[in-house]
C-alpha cells in the first residue's frame, strides 16, 4: 500500500489487516507508556487546507505514539486565494523529504490529485464531499469492538443505517464502500433533498423514513446536519427535520436489544441526535474517538513501516 486515498482502493484482506493491527494498537492506549518505536525517524506532515480539531489531533497522536516526527501545516483558505497552486504547495512539502502527507482539503479528489504529484505517501483525511477513509475504518473498528464486547459476532451480515445530510457527506461514501466490503447491508435514510444523485447505483437500500428502518438495524449511524443547510432549502426547519429524522429519546425505544448508536462528530445535540441517544448505553460515540488514534496508527504503520528506511 503506497497511499490511502479511497476505501474503493482497498481489498478485503487489506481492510482486515488494518483493523486487526488497530486492535493491537488500541491496547497500547491503555498502557501508561504509549510510545512504540515502529516509525522512528520517519516524518509525517498533517497538511490541513480545512479546519479540523479531532482528525488532525488524532493523526498527530497516532504518528507520535509510533515515534514518527509529526508536524502540522495549516494551509487554511484555499491555495487559490494565496496565489499558489495546490500542486506547488504539495511539491514544496514533498521536496523537504517527508515520508507521508496526511491531507484534508475542501475539494473532492484533491488528495488523489496530490498523489499523482508527490513521492510521499498520501493519506486522505477528508476530501470535500468525496471520502474520509480513516473515519470509515475507525467506525468499523468501533463497531467491531462493540459487537465483540456483546458477543454479537462480526460485521458480516449486520445491518447499518446511515441517516443525515448524505449529499454533502464524505463519511457516508467511505462507510458505504467499507461496510459493503465487510459484508454488512446498508440502508441510507434522508429526505430526497439530502440524498446524493445516483445513490440507487450504490448497492444499498434507501429510505425517506427513519421509523420503519430502526427496528431492523444493528448500528444506527447518525451524521451531522448543518443548520445552515436550511438556507439552501434542504429542509424547512429544525423541528421538521427532527420530527422525521432525529434520533430522539422516543425513537431510541425502536432499536433492538444490542443495537449501537454511532456518530462521527461533531454532534449537533438536539438536532440529528438527542442527548438521550448520544449518552445512552448503546452509544459508541466516544469509542469511535479512541478508535481513531488506533486505526490511524495502523494506517501509518501499513503505509510506512514496510518501506526501506
Amino acid at each position: 500500500m503506497k497511499h490511502l486515498l479511497s476505501i474503493a482502493d482497498l481489498s478485503v484482506e487489506e481492510i482486515h489487516s488494518i483493523l486487526n493491527l488497530a486492535e493491537e494498537m488500541h491496547d497500547v492506549q491503555s498502557r501508561p507508556v504509549k510510545k512504540l518505536p515502529a516509525l522512528r525517524g520517519r516524518t509525517v506532515v498533517n497538511l490541513f487546507f480545512e479546519d479540523s480539531t479531532r482528525t488532525r489531533s488524532s493523526f498527530e497522536l497516532a504518528a507520535k505514539w509510533l515515534s514518527a516526527d509529526a508536524i502540522n501545516v495549516s494551509a487554511k483558505g484555499s491555495s487559490v486565494s494565496k496565489g499558489e497552486s495546490m500542486r506547488d504547495t504539495l511539491l514544496t512539502l514533498d521536496a523537504m523529504g517527508v515520508d507521508a502527507i496526511v491531507m484534508r482539503h475542501a475539494g473532492s479528489g484533491a488528495v488523489r490529485q496530490a498523489a499523482g504529484w508527490v513521492r510521499a505517501s498520501m493519506i486522505n483525511a477528508g476530501d470535500g464531499m468525496h471520502e474520509h477513509p480513516t473515519q470509515a475504518l475507525l467506525d468499523a473498528h468501533a463497531i467491531r469492538r462493540h459487537l465483540a464486547r456483546n458477543g454479537l459476532g462480526t460485521i458480516d451480515g449486520k445491518r447499518v443505517s446511515i441517516t443525515g445530510d448524505l449529499i454533502h457527506s464524505r463519511v457516508v461514501r467511505s462507510n458505504v464502500l467499507l461496510l459493503k466490503k465487510l459484508g454488512a447491508s446498508v440502508v441510507l435514510v434522508a429526505p430526497p433533498t439530502l440524498l446524493p444523485p445516483g445513490v440507487e447505483t450504490w448497492g444499498v437500500d434507501v429510505s425517506h423514513e427513519l421509523d420503519p428502518v430502526l427496528p431492523d438495524v444493528d448500528v444506527a449511524m447518525m451524521l451531522r446536519v448543518q443548520r445552515e443547510r436550511m438556507l439552501g432549502g434542504y429542509f424547512p426547519s429544525e423541528r421538521e427535520y427532527i420530527d422525521a429524522y432525529g434520533l430522539t429519546a422516543g425513537r431510541l425505544a425502536k432499536l433492538k436489544e444490542g443495537a449501537c448508536i454511532a456518530h462521527p462528530g461533531p454532534m449537533n445535540r438536539g438536532l440529528e441526535i438527542s442527548s438521550a441517544a448520544a449518552d445512552s448505553a448503546g452509544s459508541i460515540v466516544l469509542d469511535q474517538v479512541s478508535s481513531g488514534v488506533a486505526v490511524r496508527m495502523s494506517v501509518l504503520y501499513h503505509l510506512l513501516a514496510g518501506e526501506e528506511q
Partner: protein
C-alpha cells in the same frame, strides 16, 4: 498577390474541380504563373468560422494573444473567429471593441469578429454600450456575457429590445445560477454523486433556454444559445424553432466527443463549463447537429495557464482549448458515423456561423467570384494529438494522447496561405 491553383480538389458537394485563387477571390481562369497545388484526395471546404473563441487578450496574454489564437485558428482551418468579451478588461465599450478588432487586423491570419458584452463588466446589472459597439469600427453584431449567464429576465428582455433595431443577436451562456452555482462542476448524476463533485443539472440549462426563447419571441429579437449540452435543451430549441422564434444553437467539439466519465480521476483538463455530459446527451447533441436543430459548431476555445488548472477540481478554472482539433472532433463524431456529409459540415462550421455573426465575406460557397477563404482537408489522415504541437500558448488540451483525424492540410484567407502542414 500570388495566384494558386488547387488542382483536382473535391468540393463539399462531391464534385471535383480546379479552384483558382487570385486577388483574394476564386476566379474563372488561373493567371499565368500561378502555383499549382496537387489536391487529389483532398476536400476543399469554405474557411471555417468559429462563433465562440476566447483569445484572452487583453488581460491574460500569458495564456493566449490575438496573434497566437489566430495562428491556432488557422491551423484548425478557420478563416474567422468571434472573440468572446470576457477579457480583462471586459469588451463592453466601443473603444475596447475597436482595440481587439485592431489586434485582429494586425495579426492578419483570420478575421477577428469582436463579440461585445451584454452587461457592463459581465456583472449582469446594467446594459453595456451595445449600440455604440455596433456602430464602431468593430461592427459588433453579437453580444454575450459568456462565462456568466444574464440571470435577470427583465434586463435580458431590455437587451433583446435594445439590439433589435440594428439586428444584433444575444448569445447566452445558459446556466441558472440558483440551480447550478459556482460549486457546480460535474454533470449531476451517478458520477457527481460518487466523486462528491458539485452537480450541474441539465435543467439549469434548459430552463434558461426556455426563458430566453420566450423573451426572444416576445420582443421579436434574436437569441443564440451558446454551447448547448443537454437533450432537454435541444428539445426546447426544437420547440422554439417550430414556433418560429429566431433562435440558433451551438455545440462544442468537446461536448460532441468527450463524456462525463473523463472526470473519474479528477483531471482538471476535463473541467469545463457547462460540463461534459453522459452518452445519452451526447447522442442527442449529435442527432440535433445532424438534423439542424443545432445550427453551428463553436469551439469555446478557452486557454488557461497550468497554474490555474493545478488546483483541486472544484477550484481549477473551467475551460479547454479546441481550435486545432475542432474539425477532427466533428469528423470523428459526425462524418465517420455518417451523420453529416461534407456539404453539411460546411454549413455547420462555415455558412451558418458566418450568417449568425453577419460576416458578409465569410461562409460563402466555393464558387467563382466568391472570397478565396478555403481550407484543404485530408479526410483519411489520423494522428495522435500532442498538446505541445500547438500554436496556442496554452496546453489545456483534452485531446492530448488520443488518436484522432488530422485533417487540415492548408488554410487560405482571401487567397493567402495562413497555414500549411509542415
Amino acid at each position: 498577390m500570388t495566384a494558386i491553383v488547387l488542382s483536382g480538389v473535391q468540393l463539399p458537394d462531391g464534385s471535383t474541380t480546379d479552384l483558382n485563387l487570385a486577388d483574394g477571390h476564386i476566379v474563372e481562369e488561373a493567371p499565368s504563373g500561378a502555383e499549382t497545388v496537387d489536391c487529389s484526395g483532398l476536400i476543399a471546404l469554405p474557411g471555417l468560422v468559429d462563433p465562440h473563441t476566447h483569445l484572452r487578450e487583453p488581460g491574460r496574454e500569458d495564456t493566449e494573444t490575438v496573434l497566437s489564437g489566430s495562428r491556432a485558428a488557422a491551423r484548425g482551418g478557420f478563416t474567422a473567429v468571434c472573440a468572446m468579451a470576457n477579457t480583462q478588461p471586459v469588451t463592453d465599450t466601443a473603444e475596447k471593441a475597436e482595440h481587439v478588432h485592431g489586434l485582429g487586423l494586425r495579426a492578419g491570419l483570420v478575421d477577428v469578429q469582436v463579440i461585445g458584452a451584454i452587461t457592463k463588466g459581465l456583472k449582469g446589472a446594467e446594459l453595456a454600450e451595445l449600440g455604440l459597439m455596433n456602430r464602431s469600427r468593430a461592427k459588433v453584431t453579437m453580444f454575450s456575457d459568456d462565462g456568466m449567464c444574464v440571470q435577470d429576465a427583465s434586463l435580458m428582455r431590455k437587451a433583446f429590445e435594445w439590439v433589435k433595431p440594428f439586428g444584433g443577436v444575444l448569445a447566452q451562456h445558459s446556466q441558472d445560477s440558483t440551480l447550478a452555482g459556482p460549486g457546480a462542476c460535474c454533470h449531476e448524476g451517478e458520477l457527481s454523486g460518487r466523486l462528491g463533485l458539485g452537480g450541474w443539472p441539465p435543467v439549469a440549462e434548459s430552463i434558461i433556454i426556455a426563458r430566453d426563447a420566450m423573451l426572444a419571441e416576445a420582443t421579436g429579437s434574436r437569441l443564440h444559445v451558446c454551447h448547448i449540452t443537454t437533450a432537454e435543451g435541444v428539445d426546447v430549441v426544437r420547440w422554439a424553432k417550430a414556433r418560429g422564434i429566431h433562435v440558433t444553437a451551438e455545440v462544442t467539439p468537446h461536448h460532441l466527443l468527450l463524456g462525463t466519465e473523463e472526470l473519474v480521476d479528477y483531471d482538471t483538463v476535463y473541467k469545463v463549463n457547462p460540463p461534459l455530459r453522459t452518452s445519452e446527451h451526447r447522442e442527442a447533441l449529435r442527432a440535433a447537429l445532424a438534423d439542424g436543430t443545432i445550427d453551428v459548431v463553436g469551439t469555446d476555445h478557452a486557454p488557461h495557464a497550468a497554474q490555474d488548472k493545478d488546483h483541486a477540481f472544484a477550484d481549477a478554472k473551467p475551460g479547454m482549448i479546441g481550435l486545432e482539433q475542432a474539425l477532427a472532433s466533428v469528423i470523428e463524431t459526425m462524418v465517420k458515423p455518417g451523420l453529416l456529409d461534407w456539404a453539411t459540415v460546411a454549413d455547420r462550421m462555415s455558412h451558418a456561423p458566418a450568417k449568425l455573426a453577419r460576416l458578409s465575406g465569410q461562409g460563402r460557397p466555393l464558387a467563382v467570384g466568391e472570397p478565396a477563404n478555403v481550407v484543404l482537408v485530408d479526410p483519411t489522415r489520423t494522428a495522435v494529438v500532442d498538446k505541445d504541437a500547438s500554436a496556442s500558448l496554452s496546453r489545456n488540451n483534452p485531446y492530448h494522447g488520443r488518436l484522432l483525424p488530422d485533417p487540415i492540410e492548408a488554410t487560405y484567407l482571401r487567397g493567402r496561405e495562413t497555414y500549411r502542414r509542415g
